[in-house]
Each structure stands twice: as C-alpha cells, then as structure tokens.
C-alpha cells in the first residue's frame, strides 16, 4: 500500500498583509500531481487545513478543490483530521458529499467515520470503510491487496480529550496528565491493529523533542499539552503527524513518526527549511519504507540585513537578489529612512514585506539601572546640588537637609483612602 502524508496547509494564511492563496493553490495542484504520479492509494492530511476557525470562502473552495483532486472520484482514499487551528465542525460540514467519494473528514478525537449507518454511501467509490469505531477505521482501497487500520486523533484539546474519556465514565482517567491520557487512548485503540493489515496513526499533537518554528501557535503553554513520543502505539507501521511546520522524524518514538511540516514557509524563521510531503510504502508484517518527496512550490522567504545602509539594500534589489522571494529587510543606518528611499526599495523588489531601520549603535538591550537608587540619600543630594547648581553644597545647607531627613516619620495612612 502506498500512502502520502501531508499536513499544516493553513489555507488562507497571509504573511503580514500579503495573501498566500495563489501559492497555496500552486501547492494543491502540485500535490494532486504527485498523488497521480506516485499512484498513491491513500492520502493522510494531519490537521491544520485552515489557518483560522473561520476561514474565507476562497480558502474553503481551495480545500474542496484539493479533496476533489486527491480523491480522484473515489479511486484513492483520503483521510483528513482537524488541527488546533481548524474548527472541527466546520471542517466536517462537507462530510455528506465527501463520503460518497471515499473521503473521510474527522473533527474530534472520538469521531467515528462510519456512524452514519448507510452501507451504500460508498457506492460511487472503490474505497470502502470495512469497519469503524470511535477514533479508528479500517479502509480498503480497490487494487490494493491489504486493508489499512487507521487510528485517528484530531487535535485533542483538553476538553475534547476529557469528553472522550468521560464517555467511558472512568473518573480516574480524568486525573491523569495529558500525555498519559493520549497514551491510554492509543493503547486501547491499537488493539484494532491486525497482522494482516497496514496499521497507521494520523494525529495532530505536539510530541516532546519536536523542533518548533515561529509560525506555529504554541501548544505547550506551561508544557501541559506535550506528549511523550514513547506513548505512540508500537505496532503501527507509521504515525503521520501534524502541527510542527518543520518536516522532521521524531526520535525516540515507539513507531516511525513523522511531521510532514507545512508545504510553504509561513515565517521567516523557516527560510532554511526544505518543505516536503512523505511517501510511505507499507505491507503487513514488514517495516514501512518512508521517503520524503521535496516540494518546490510557492515563493521562498528571505531575511536581509543591510549592514552598510540603504545603498547596499538598493544595490541588492537592483541586482535582482532573491527576486522570487518574500523579503524581510533590516537596514542598519544612523538616520531615519526617507519615504522616497522606502518607495524606491519597494519599487525595485515587489517581494519586500517589511523595511525596518536599526539605528547604529543601538544594541536594543537595556541595562538595569542600580547606580543611583542604591546609594545613600545625602550623597545623592550632594550630587544633585552639584548637577543643579554646579558647585559644592554649603555645609550649613547640608546640615539643614540632614535635619529634614532625621525628622520623625509621620504616621502613615492619613493620606490614603481619601475617596
């Protein structure tokens, strides 16, 4: 069985004010082409299809276009789960149409793709759901000798996770740590894996040890939602993960686990990543063969620092440096940039997202002052006199100041609560 793994499309996401939709459309077409060329049997999309829970119509249209192209009228199985950016209900709204084409959309950790009860629903498709339950399904693609059992874990927020566990009415489970809860769900579901099936996991999670980028929305505020990679099911051929934008295999995982990463660079911190989708060839009883297929769609992101001022930046533009890229430009200067300079920079390079002057000598780091506050008040006053009057303070005046200082503290409190 041949499987394609991708995730974190973030359809509708923009870079500052610039829309990335054209690049995203380019990626979708590229992905459909790859699916055809590679003759994939199954496509797994591991969450964060959209960038916001309230995506634009154009973004949704692009998503449906992608499903249409990937599913290829039911010849290929497609499983999509919701990520932390997605609105689970909204993502699955198209399910009635999707099912007829062998496409499974899942919103919540406990979602059951087969619960609708229509046997004939896959009538148009050569893809069949053989069995299913909360959080798992067994899928058969025509022309493929083995069915696949897939454990699905759409983004399990704390409350969604609790809901899954509450359904099983086991109070003790709710008390456990997030990672343990996820592990228990996996342990329970992995009993569905069989010797004669291809066993897969698709999930949207943050695994400990995963490397983050700037464009992800952090999931581990206070470390709460971090999952121990050892909790993945041992028997799985492959775990297709979503959330991190850098393509990477997770070390220390109980089964081969891979973040496919986002298809486009969404922040300047990802300028150096090569984006990819993964191809997995799996057969029952054999280790899966995992191959990254590198992508070359969309415009790259570049960070320029013009140490020698505006002239250097202008020269780079004129030389056509990174002409196809989106550029974050920092100019080291000792004066304010004029409007004219900014205009000409943008005219020379259409991909400049932002121009930021850095005043030379400004390290940007502030030192914590302790010099004055720590000293004795009479010394300070002497210094202040010098600063103010330009001469030494007469001893008589200093005596008077000390006399003021030695004045008894008045009882505090008479000046507060005057409302």
């Amino acid at each position: 069985m041949r499987i394609l793994h991708t995730s974190d499309w973030h359809l509708g996401r923009s870079l500052e004010q610039v829309s990335r939709l054209p690049e995203q459309r380019e990626f979708i077409r590229c992905l459909c082409r790859i699916a055809e060329e590679q003759e994939a049997d199954l496509v797994l999309v591991a969450g964060d299809v959209f960038d916001t829970c309230n995506p634009s119509a154009a973004a949704e249209e692009l998503f449906y276009e992608a499903l249409e192209g990937l599913g290829s009228r039911g010849r290929r199985g497609v499983v999509v789960i919701a990520g932390n950016h997605d609105n689970p209900d909204r993502l699955c709204a198209a399910s009635p149409l999707a099912r007829r084409n062998g496409i499974v959309l899942l919103g919540y950790p406990g979602s059951d793709p087969g619960q609708s009860g229509f046997e004939a629903e896959f009538a148009d498709s050569t893809v069949r759901i053989l069995q299913s339950g909360a959080g798992w399904l067994e899928i058969q693609v025509a022309g493929c000798p083995h069915p696949a059992v897939i454990l699905t874990l759409p983004y399990p927020s704390e409350s969604r996770l609790e809901e899954v566990l509450t359904r099983e009415a086991e109070e003790g489970r709710l008390q456990k740590a997030y990672s343990e809860k996820i592990g228990e769900i996996f342990a329970e579901l992995s009993e569905k894996f069989r010797e004669d099936t291809v066993n897969l996991v698709v999930g949207h999670l943050f695994l400990r040890g995963g490397r983050e980028s700037e464009s992800e929305r952090t999931l581990q505020v206070g470390g709460a939602l971090t999952v121990d990679p050892g909790r993945l099911p041992v028997k799985a051929h492959f775990a297709a993960l979503g959330h991190l934008h850098r393509p990477q295999a997770v070390s220390g995982a109980a089964c081969p686990a891979v973040y496919s990463g986002s298809p486009l660079a969404y922040s300047f911190s990802e300028a150096e990543h090569t984006k990819a989708v993964y191809r997995i060839d799996a057969e029952p009883g054999l280790p899966a063969e995992i191959t990254p297929l590198y992508l070359d769609c969309g415009r790259p992101l570049r960070r320029w620092v013009a140490e020698q001022g505006v002239e250097q930046a202008l020269k780079w533009c004129r030389d056509g440096r990174d002409a196809n890229a989106w550029v974050d430009l920092e100019i080291v200067t000792d004066r304010v940039l004029t409007a004219e300079e900014q205009r000409s920079l943008r005219a020379l390079h259409s991909g400049i997202i932002q121009v930021r002057p850095r005043i030379r000598g400004d390290s940007g780091e502030a030192a914590l002052p302790e010099s004055r506050e720590g000293r004795k008040i009479d010394e300070l006053f002497r210094e202040y006199y010098r600063f103010r009057m330009g001469g030494e303070i007469p001893e008589e005046l200093m005596q008077a100041f000390v006399e003021i200082l030695s004045e008894e503290e008045e009882d505090a409190g008479d000046e507060t609560e005057t409302a």
Binding site: A224, R356, L368
Partner: protein, 1077 residues
Amino acid sequence: MRPKLLEIEGLQSFRELQRIDFETLGETGLFGIFGPTGSGKSTVLDAITFALYGKVKRAGGTLGILNANEDTLKVRFVFEILREGSRKAYRIDRTYQRKKGSDHACEPKIARLIEISAGGEIPVCDKPSEVGNTVRELLGLSHDDFTRAVVLPQGSFQEFLMLGNAERRSMLERIFYLEEYGRRLQDKLSRKLGQLKSRLDTLKGELAAYADATDEALSEAGAEWKAAQAEQTRLETELSQLEPRYREAGEVFQLMMEQARAEQALKQHQLKQELFAQQRRKLDLAEKADSLLELIQSTRDLTENQIQLQALLKQGADQLAAAGQKRDKDRNLYEDFRKQAASEQPRLGSLRTRLEEALGVMGGIRGLTEKKEEAATSLEKLRAEYARVHRDIGAATAEAERMEQELETLSRKADTLKVSPEFRAQLQEGLRLEGLFELLAVKKEAADRARQALDILTAGQEELAGKMRDLKAEQERAEADMESRREEQARALKELEGQNALLLSLTLKPGQPCPVCGSDQHPRPAASSGTADVPLRKQEAEAAQQAFKAAEAAFRQAETRCLLAEKEGITLAGRILESTRELALKTREFEAALQKLPEAFQHPELPEAFQHPELPEAFQYPELQGRPGACVADEIKRLAEQDQQLKEVEKQILHHQTAIRDRRLQLDQWKEKRAEVESQGMKVRTELGQHIELLADKARKIKELLEISELPAEDVSDPLAGLPGEEDVQEEIRRTIQKLQNGHDETENRYQAMQEAEKQYGALAAEQSGLQTRLGMVSLNREAQETLLIKRLAEKGFSDAAAAERAILSASEQQALKTQLEDHQKQGMDLHARLEAVQGRLQGRRIGPEEWESLQQQYQNASRERDESMSRSGAAKNRFELLTARHARWTALTADFQQQNHRQGLFDQIQKLLKAELRKDNSFIDFIAEERLRYIAARASETLGVMTRFKYALELDADAGFIIRDNANGGIHRSVTTLSGGETFLTSLALALALSEQIQLKGQSPLEFFFLDEGFGTLDNQLLDNVVDSLERLSSRQRVIGLISHVPELRNRIARRLIVTPPTGRGDGSVVQIEKA
C-alpha cells in the same frame, strides 16, 4: 500577589453567590473572561479592586454598585503574597448594605482582612479604612496604581502611557519605593517648614505678650514698692500706742457685768429652802422601814411552806392506795399464766420431734423419685433404639442379597470377554510381516529409480559421443580454412611491401634524414613500377587480413566448442559411475530386506542386479485367510478394546465383592448391638421396680408419723398420693416452735410486771412518811417568827407590817433624794464665793457704757488702716518680682526669634532646590527615577517589537515623556497621542507588561498576575494573532495573564476560559463557569 479565590454576591449584575477559582483558571498562565456585553465580565475585575480598596473605579467609588434587586453585597477575595521569599495567604471580606431610603448609595457593614496561616486565621484588621491602608502597604500599590499597572479596566488602559509627568512620577515613586526621595522627603520638608513657621508665629505672639516687660517698666515698679513699705511702718506705731488703754477698760467692763449676774443667782437659791426640808423627812422614814423588811418576808415564806406540805401529804395518800391495788392484780395474773404454760409445753415438744422426723424421710423420697424417673426415661430410649437397629438389619440383609445377584451377572459377562493366548500370538506375527513387506516395497522402488537414472545417463553419453565427432570434423575444417587464409594474407602483404619502398622514395628529400635508415643521403631510391597500384594493393592486403582474422576466429570457436563437449563427456562419465554405484547399493538393500522374510515367502528366483525385482502376487498369511478384508491391525485394536472392557468388568466385580463383605460385617455389628440393647433394657426395668417398692415404704412411714398429727393422710393405691408437701411440714414445725417460744415469753413478761408493781408501792409509802416529818418542823418555826415580828414593829413605831411596807423607798430613789439635798447645799456655798471673788478683783473700779463704746471705735479704726497699708505694700512687691521674671523671658525670646528666622531661610532654599524647575514639583526624584523609567521604556519597546513585528519602538524624550519610534515609516519619532486606537492598545499593553515585570523584580511583593479589560476589539485578526502569540509566550506560572473580551477569535485561542452568562430576565444574576479549550 496572586489571586486564589473570588466570591461575588450582589455586586452590579451579580446576585446570588458566584465563586471563581483562580488556581484552576490560571493553570496555563493565560486565561480569558468571556461573555456577551453586559454579562458582568468587568465586574469580576471590579470585585477584585473593590475587595482590596473598597471602591470601584468605574463607579467612581461605591455609588450604584449594589445590584438593584439586592440589599446586601458581599465580596470575598483570597490572595497570596510572596514577601521575602515566603508565601502568605490573606482573605478580605467586605459586606456593604443599602443605605436606608437611598436608591444608589450603600455603606460598609463588614470589612475584614484576615491572614490565613497554617495555624489558623489571624485577623489583621476589621475597619474599612484600615483594610484599604493595610492592602496598600502589603501590595505597595494604591488603588490608582493597581488599576494602572495590574488590573487594567475598560477605558483606563492607556492611562500610564498618557499620564502627565507629575502623576507618572508619583506612581513610580510608590511602585519602586522611591518615596523616601520623593513624597516622604517633600512631606518632611513641608512639615519642617510648617513647624518653623508656626514656631516663628508663636514667638512673635509671645513677644507681643511680653511688650510690658521692658527695662523702664521694671524700675518704676521698684520705686512704688518702697513707698508702700514706709506708709505701713507709720501706721503700725500708732496702733501699738493705743492698745494698753483699750485692754484695761475692756476688763473692768466685763467684771462689772459678772458681779450683777452673781447677785441675781443668790436670790433665786434662797427661795427653794422649804421644799428641801420636806424631802429630808421622807428619807428618814424609809430608812427605818428598811430594817424590818427581812423579818416580814421570812414570816410570810414559812406560812406558805406549811400550806404546800399539807396539800402534798393529801395527794400522796391517794397514790399509795392505787399502787397497792395494781400490785395485787399483777401478782394474780402471773400465777395464772405460769400454771397454763406448765401444762402446754410437753405436748408441743413431742409434736415438733415427730414433724422433724417426717421431714427427713421426705428428703429420701425426693432422691428416689428422681432415680425412678431417670430409669423410666432410659428404658424408653432403649426401646426406640432397639426398634431402629432391628429395622436396619432387615434393610442391610436385603441389599446384600441384591448385590450377590449382580456379582453373578458380572462374572458371567467376564467369562464371555476372555481371549485365547494363541490367537493373540498369531496376530503379533501378522503385524510383523506386514511391516517387512512394506519395507521391501520401498527398497524395490529405490532400486528401480536408480536404474532408470542410469539408463538416462547412458543414453546421454552415447548422444554426446556422436556430437563430439561432428565437432571434431568441424574443427578440422575450420583449421584448414584458416591456413589457406593465412597464406593469402602473406602473399598480399608481400606485394604491398614492394609498393612501400616506392612510396618512401617519393617522400625522401636530399639533406633530410630517411625515416627508415636515418641517412640523409639517398643514393638509391626505389623506382616506381606504377604508382597507381599502391592504394589497390593496400586494399587487397587489408581484405586478405580481414578474411584471415575471420577464419581464425571461426577456428577458435570450433576449438572451444570441441573442448566444452569434451568436458561435458568427462562429467557425464563421472555421473554414470556414481549412478552405477547407487544402483548396486539399492539392489543390495532390497536383497537384505528380502532375506528378513520367513523362508516360505522368499521368492524362489531372486532377481539379478539389473533385473526388475517383483514379489509374488499372493503373499497371504494363512491364519487371516478366513477373514477376507479384515486387517490385522484392526483386529488388534478391537482386541485391545475388548481387554479394556474386561478390565472394567473385573474392576466392577472386585468392587461388588468388597461392598458385600462390608455389608455383612456391618450386619453382624448391628445384631450384636441389638442383643446388648435388650440386656440393658432388662437391667433398667429391674432397677425401676426396686425404686417403686422403696418409695412405697417411705410413704408408709410418713403416713405413720403424720397419722397422729392433725395432717390428713389417705390410703390410696399410689404410695405417695395424699402426702403433704415438704414445705407444709416445715411450715408446721415453724408454727409449733413459735407457739413454744410464745408461751415462754409471756410468762416472763407477767413476772416482770408483778415485780415492778411491788417496787412502786414501796417507794410511795416511804415518801409519805418523809412529808409528815417535814410538816411538823415548819409549823414550829412559823410560830416563833410571828412573835418576834410583832415585837419589832412596835419598837420602830409602825402600827403593823403593812404600814412599814408602805414607807419603803427603793435604793435609787433614796440616793436621788440624797444627791438633790447635797447639791442644793453646795450651790448656795458656790454663789457666795463667786460674788466675793468678783468684788475682790474690781477693787472699786468702774466704767460707764458710753465711755467703753467710744474707746472701742477708736481702736478698730486704727487697726483697719494698718491692714490696708500692709496689703498695698505686698501688691507692689509682687508686681516688681513678676516683672523681673518676664523681663528675663523677653530677652530669651528675642534671641530665639532671630535664630529661627535664619533656619527658615535655609529650608526655603532647599525647597526651591528640590523644585528647581518651574513645571515640576520635585526634580530630585526625576533625577533618581529617570534611569528606571528609561529601562522600563526599553523593556516595553522589546515586547512591542515582538507584537508588531518591530514596526514600533518606545523611547523616552528629554523630559522623560514617552515617545514612539515608527520603524514602518523609516524610524521617525511620533508623539504617543498620534497613535491609533489599536496602536495605543498595543503600546499600553507592552508598557503595562514591562511595568508589572519591574514590580515583580523590584517590589517587596511581586505581582504575579495581570489583567486586561477589552481593547482587543481594536485589533485586526493578524495583529490579534501576534498579540496572543506574544502573550502566550510571556505568560508563565510566575505571571498569570487574564484577558477580558467579547472577541470570538480570542475565545477560540485561549485554553482556560471563564464564561460569564448575563442575567436573564427572570431575576437571577450573572453566572460564571470555568471552561477548558
């Protein structure tokens, strides 16, 4: 400070108690409060400031904060403070009540700050103002600071950013504890100045009061005092001269008055003389009567005594007669009783003896009856047991018989199952033979296979030999061809060589070295034989060479093929040899197998090595021939089954035999027991008979004993019937003893009574005779006394005893009379003496009243004048002394005033120095705080940069005011007031975060939470994302950030939410609920 728990009741839109657990809410470091407009989100914030400071900023105090439907509002806030490394928890309770008759106003009822420690709750203070002040001290923040830096309510968000310099400075002062340099220093200075001013004022006032104490005034008062002193001396002299005359005249006048009074009193005394003579007479008479009084009394006593004795004698005679009668009666009674007792006693004694004997016998009966009953019971038991054993014996016998029958059936069955040993042996042999035949077949097949393989190999060898021959012929042909080609080639080459010399000669030039011999002399170049032939020859030579090469290749190929075929032939020969060996081995094995068969079955004509060995068709075991189709193995199996069955049946037989034996044994035991029970029964019955007989004996005995008694005794067949019970007999014995005792006691009593009566009579008789004697003596005495009395009365001049008694006076009366008489006499003598004394002192001197009056007047006047002069002199002295003291004070005050005036000048100078500049009230604090403010601005700038992707930076201008650097516009500076709503929000947020971070670093109680109310509505989605990302990264366990918003995107982004549900129309208040993402 970190909030832990908040409870709200009756505040604004809240009605019933709502509880917010900040521990759960702040778990991830970031939480949001969400709800529709008007649901009471901001009230949560208000409740915190209200709990801490007792006022709500939005309401400007407490007016209108009470829910319209409630009369009480309660807020409880629990928080922790980290101070000097240790955590302390506090709780504030505030309860306010609606002011009577007011719609909006409310007043505090309870306000309490409590420290919650491990040991319990310690109240800190409980007055509204105290609570506010203590909180201010604990947090180091005033209400305004708190709302600016920690809880940022709606609308007051950008306050710190936009604050005037002075206000911002005072806030920094408080937050960073710079008050020592600022407000407190100012306060001290103002206070000092105030003190000085009032001191100067006081001095001025005092000096005004001492305006009269100058030097001139002092000398004037001295002169006045001296004049007054002289006047006083003169008047004192005058008075002393008048004094002797005045004293003598006074004395004379007094004496004359005294003389007149004495003369008057003497006259009064003489008038009372006659009255006192009468009194004296009365006293004399009384004294005489006194001497007779004793005699009269004793005579009267004796008379009375005599009368008494006579009465007593008469009474005693009556009593004596009565005692005599009683004595006689008691004596008769005793005699009667004694006689009666003597006749009754012996009868009762014998009755008692018999009764006691009967009781003994009865005790025996009780034991016997018990034994009899016991025997009867055991007899009954034995009877039942006998019946049971008897029944068991019957049943067991029947069962034993049935088992014996069954045993017989089993034995018969066993006989049928037995098999003869001969048949068994035959079967074993058959099994062995079958194995041998099988082995033989296998061996034969192996030998066949080996032979077939050999055949194939031999055929192959022959074929190969033919092929070899063909190949050899071909090789020879190729060789011949090759040789002919070689010759052809040699020929062609030779021709070409000739042509070569010609070609060379054409290229040679004189003076140049020949490429063949190197000589630069070319004496004999080859002559041309037709230059046109050269290329043709060359072509031919090449063709010949090619043909030769092809022929050579063909030959080599043929040679190789030949060699290969040869090699194959060798291999094949080896394999044939191997196969031949194999066949021989297999054949031997087959023969060995055949040998093992019994001779009868060995084939007469054993095959030769390469012949096909066949077995005769009819190898059959004669024993089995009668059973066509039956297999030996099957038969053996059946036999085994039959054996098994037999074993089973034998086991059953054994079992049955054992069971029958057990039954019989048991039956014998039971029979034995039956006999035993029977004999026991006999024994018990005899015993029972004996008991009954003994009982009858006893009964008879008792009846005999009791027949004489009054108890009923009937003779019936049952020996015990009609016998009285033991209790009855005992009762009878008790009664008899009682009767005996009673008779005895009564006799004794009677005797005692008789004795008593006798004794009484004796005593009375003795008493009577005593009385008679005493009466005689008394009569004699009385007569003697009476004679004496009459004689004495006559002597004293009293007619009889009564007259004497009348004259008697009591001793006190006599004494009073005596004293009166003496006093009167003494008074007369005194008066005479007094008169004489006065006359003696006067010695004839006299003075008239008028003269005395004028002298008196004169003296008084002189005396008054002297007193007046004295007081005048004293006053003058006082005034002078007072003025002397005041003058000294006046001098000191003047000096002090001048000194203080100088100090005021110095303080004024310091105050001016601290103000220094016109617009500022303390530039000293600016001097100190500027560094810190700059640092805060830099920190805020960093955060702002992250949130806006470095579009903006925050800086300080020369006046330490905030200013924005706009990087998106090339880095120009802008005033903070030119920022848009969203930009202002971001900048304020960054500033507030930096500020709270600073408080955390510097403050004595770090702020561990931070609240934002609204402001997010001003941001677009992109910016909102950035801000929330930044907040997520900034928040931590150390600092919890809380947001209040109605922006839905925000709600989806935040993991911990407090959902506030607005009040419904039905009258309930806002409701809160914690939700997780």
